[in-house]
């Protein structure tokens, strides 16, 4: 007993303070790719290297413009695009607080006149590029195989209504792994370690969906987890919030377009907050949770 006490005293306080937006990451942390619009010529070289088509280009013949998109919901933060850019327009500076309410907010667009882009010697024609999905088709909730098991009146309820009902209480979260690689789980577990100690914000992870206010869902929703996810959603009392945590959960990530996955949590149940990252670091998950609660300021 004495040894334990001694050790505890020797270690002291390990927990880091957390003020959203002021959270510092360790130097060296890559985070998300950021594009310098001044340097980027929309040539499309990086698009060829991107494994998940988070970077895409589309030529609009009518307006004679080329649009270049970066979607943080598809990005797996692999860093392959940085060396691919001939103009050093892509950099990784440790950005991680990316959570948003809609997928549209996660997708950024840059556009240029097509005639200018054509002059570029690094120009890549859109014919060479295979599109997983057109950026403007990024839709929100789409019903999955078990739509008949969902209670539909839930879907229309707006976020602020839900938050009003939840406001002022501590938050109980049920984590659901819908087929993740367990990377997201590693970080979700870390939320309760002494460094992040999410409990101090009133955030508790609970063992049953019946006690939960929020589902934190990871993974691309595999075919064999879809039913379990829908059942868990149904077992959670209303009002409930759903956070899609990680690139897989937002868009299917590396696994999209495969016979065994649905391709994102909103292919099965409605989602309120999307948290990009592969995996999102613990602060990023917390940021997403806070955003869900509108406790940001």
């Amino acid at each position: 007993m004495f040894r334990i006490l001694k050790k505890n005293l020797a270690v002291g306080k390990a927990t880091l303070p957390y003020a959203p937006h002021a959270a510092k990451t360790t130097e060296g942390f890559l985070g998300a790719p950021e594009i310098d619009p001044a340097k980027c010529t929309r040539c499309g070289q990086c698009v060829l290297q991107c494994p998940t088509k988070a970077l895409t280009i589309a030529d609009h013949a009518k307006e004679a413009r080329r649009s270049f998109y970066i979607s943080y919901g598809d990005c797996i933060f692999c860093g392959l695009c940085e060396p691919a850019c001939p103009y050093q327009a892509i950099s990784f500076k440790g950005k991680f607080e990316l959570a948003a309410r809609t997928k549209k907010e996660l997708c950024h667009e840059l556009s240029s006149a097509l005639s200018d882009v054509r002059k570029d010697k690094a120009f890549v024609s859109t014919e060479k590029i295979y599109f997983k999905k057109k950026p403007d088709e990024i839709s929100a909730f789409r019903q999955g195989d078990f739509a008949d098991k969902l209670t539909l009146e839930e879907i229309g309820e707006s976020l602020s209504q839900k938050i009003q009902k939840l406001f002022g209480r501590s938050l109980h979260i049920r984590e659901v792994d819908a087929g993740s690689c367990n990377g997201c789980e590693v970080e979700a577990v870390n939320l309760s370690n002494p460094i992040y100690d999410a409990e101090r914000f009133g955030v508790h992870f609970v063992a049953s969906p019946r006690h939960a206010d929020m589902l934190l869902v990871t993974g691309p929703v595999t075919r064999q987890m879809e039913l379990a996810l829908v059942k868990t959603y149904e077992a959670t009392p209303s009002p409930k919030l759903v956070v899609a945590c990680g690139s897989c959960a937002i868009s299917g990530g590396m696994f999209d377009g495969n016979y065994a996955v649905a391709g994102g949590v909103d292919r099965a149940v409605p989602v309120d907050i999307y948290v990009p990252g592969c995996p999102p670091r613990p602060e990023a998950i917390l940021h997403g949770i806070f955003l869900a609660l509108e406790k940001r300021q």
């Binding site: 942390f29 692999c78 087929g179 979700a188 002494p194 377009g257 495969n258 016979y259």
Partner: protein, 525 residues
């Protein structure tokens, strides 16, 4: 290895033929289908030979038949022999080796589900990968199966093995569990508190990863490999990179070999830290758990500084590594590692003095050596049961040949032994990192990329924190990847848990499970 090939030829005559395209360490031998049982039996009977894994591939385009491959390791000569048999499409039956090699059970069931080949005489032919709503007759790993297609759901039923008798009741657990862990189903049959049978049913997280890898470029394949099992990202990526490098005939520069060792050991450290923390938590000693989780976080922060990512992603590259450890970083790294080691030391000392913890783990969840060997157990789990094997020593890769380390082995096979193995391995990892940092030569980080060669196949392997992890990659005529087989340690070790829990009480299951700490994602892929 030549000797083994000769012995095979001598015994079975000229129906057996060595195939071209092998390397110094990998010898391919073609055997007729009806000689599978005899040759596999013969090889497993040879003392230094061990069946590592078996898998199928759809080679109808190249050979007009499916191919079954049995990978054997020669433990004393650092080489592998791969037996290949062709299975014709119009008669897709192959003899099951499970009756005399129980370790093949899940592997043969998986081949049935994914390729539609039939294992004759397989004692348990139930579907393994696909659940009851998967319609019959769809085999996703066949080349003519379009991977984008959506397969309709049908109604069906999975029959669990049942134990019957007075007072026996069944407890189903999962797929969604109480803690923050991955999904899987466990069905216990128990008499009173004591478990008399456990049946594990997994593959909830099956994502068709191997199929998704087909046709990918090497750099994208590595991204996918990093996402097979998140906490073992670097191990899987390293194994995959090794296979690709053999295929492209790329020599990895020496500095990169040492850096790979450092990152591999960093991965082992953070995994073992959280495993020991988990055992401590499940034995209701939360002080140990939170202290070790704190150390784990320190390790993740080191990862982040050195690699840019907390799980050591984005480090590996075809032909080397993307990240260097500079002189300044090295100094700080060494200091931090030293501090963590001292910290770890004092926590472990406290752990061993907590009677309530030691009582819970001693003798709990035993796996006998015979069971571990028969089921082909690997990694710390096997080493805790007295099976002395470690790829780092037996088939050295990266720079392990130039470094000295011990392979801790314990006999009892209980939770305590598994914890001891992991604790010892943590110390060895500290030492390896220290030595590698000091002996690492200067030089380039990455060789120039070269295209992978057509119609070749190669093996890559790593002793991951959970045990041996193999990647096998084959290319087609155009040099595209046509088959990517991932053999993860969890896939081998899950069936062992079914034995470890017998005669233990149900409340001890989480503790036993934690001491194995297997990956669901790595198993299901």
């Amino acid at each position: 290895m030549k000797m083994v090939c000769e012995a095979l030829k001598e015994k079975f005559g000229n129906t057996i033929r060595e195939l071209e395209g092998g390397t110094e360490k990998q010898c391919h031998v073609l055997i007729p289908r009806d000689a599978i049982l005899k040759t596999v039996g013969f090889l497993t009977g040879l003392l230094p030979m061990r069946l590592v894994f078996l898998f199928a591939s759809d080679t109808r385009k190249e050979n007009k038949a499916f191919t079954l491959s049995y990978v054997f390791s020669h433990t004393q000569q650092d080489s592998f022999i791969i037996l290949e048999a062709r299975i014709p499409e119009n008669d897709p039956v192959f003899p099951s080796v499970t009756p005399f090699l129980p370790q093949a059970n899940w592997q043969e069931r998986e081949i049935q589900d994914l390729f539609g080949l039939v294992a004759g005489n397989l004692p348990d032919p139930r579907s393994l990968v696909f659940h009851e709503d998967w319609p019959r007759g769809h085999f996703p790993f066949k080349k003519d199966f379009q991977s984008q297609q959506k397969i309709p759901r049908v109604s069906g039923q999975y029959i669990f093995e049942r134990v019957e008798g007075e007072g026996i009741f069944e407890i189903p657990v999962g797929p969604v569990h109480a803690g923050i862990i991955e999904p899987g189903h466990f069905r216990f049959s128990s008499a009173g508190e004591s478990i008399v049978k456990l049946e594990i049913r997994h593959f909830y997280t099956h994502k068709g990863t191997e199929k998704a890898g087909e046709g990918k470029s090497p750099s994208h394949l590595l991204c996918l490999a990093e996402r097979i099992s998140g906490d073992n990202s670097f191990s899987h990526a390293a194994a995959c990179a090794q296979a690709l490098e053999t295929l492209a005939d790329i020599q990895v520069p020496e500095r990169a070999q040492f850096l790979r060792v450092i990152f591999l050991e960093l991965e082992r450290l953070h995994n073992h830290m959280s495993d020991i923390a988990g055992i401590s938590l499940d034995a209701a000693f939360s002080f140990g758990a939170s202290q070790l989780m704190r150390l784990k976080e320190s390790l993740l922060r080191i990862n982040e500084r050195l690699a840019g990512t907390r799980l050591l992603r984005n480090v590996i590259a075809l032909g080397g590594v993307r990240k260097d450890i500079s002189g300044v970083q090295k100094q700080r790294f060494l200091e931090e590692i030293q501090k963590i080691k001292t910290d770890f030391d004092s926590i472990i000392q406290i752990l061993w003095q907590v009677d309530s913890l030691v009582d819970r783990i001693e003798g709990t969840g035993q796996v006998k050596k015979e069971v571990a060997e028969t089921l082909g157990g690997v990694g710390p789990v096997a080493r805790a049961s007295g099976v002395d094997q470690d790829l780092r020593r037996d088939h050295p890769y990266a720079a392990y040949k130039e470094l000295f380390f011990m392979v801790p082995v314990f006999k009892e096979g209980d939770v305590e032994s598994r914890m001891k193995v992991k604790i010892q391995e943590v110390y060895e990892s500290f030492k390896l990192i220290y030595d590698a940092l000091h002996t690492m030569p200067e030089g380039p980080l990455c060789s120039e990329a070269r295209p992978i060669l057509p119609l070749k196949s190669a093996l890559g392997y790593v002793e991951s924190p959970r045990g041996e992890c193999f990647h096998w990659i084959a290319t087609d005529r155009e040099g595209k990847i046509t088959r990517w087989k991932i053999h993860s340690p969890s896939f081998v070790n899950w069936p062992l848990i079914q034995y470890a829990v017998l005669e233990n009480i149900v409340p001890d299951f989480p503790l036993i499970n934690k001491s194995f700490n297997l990956s669901y994602a790595g198993n299901d892929r």
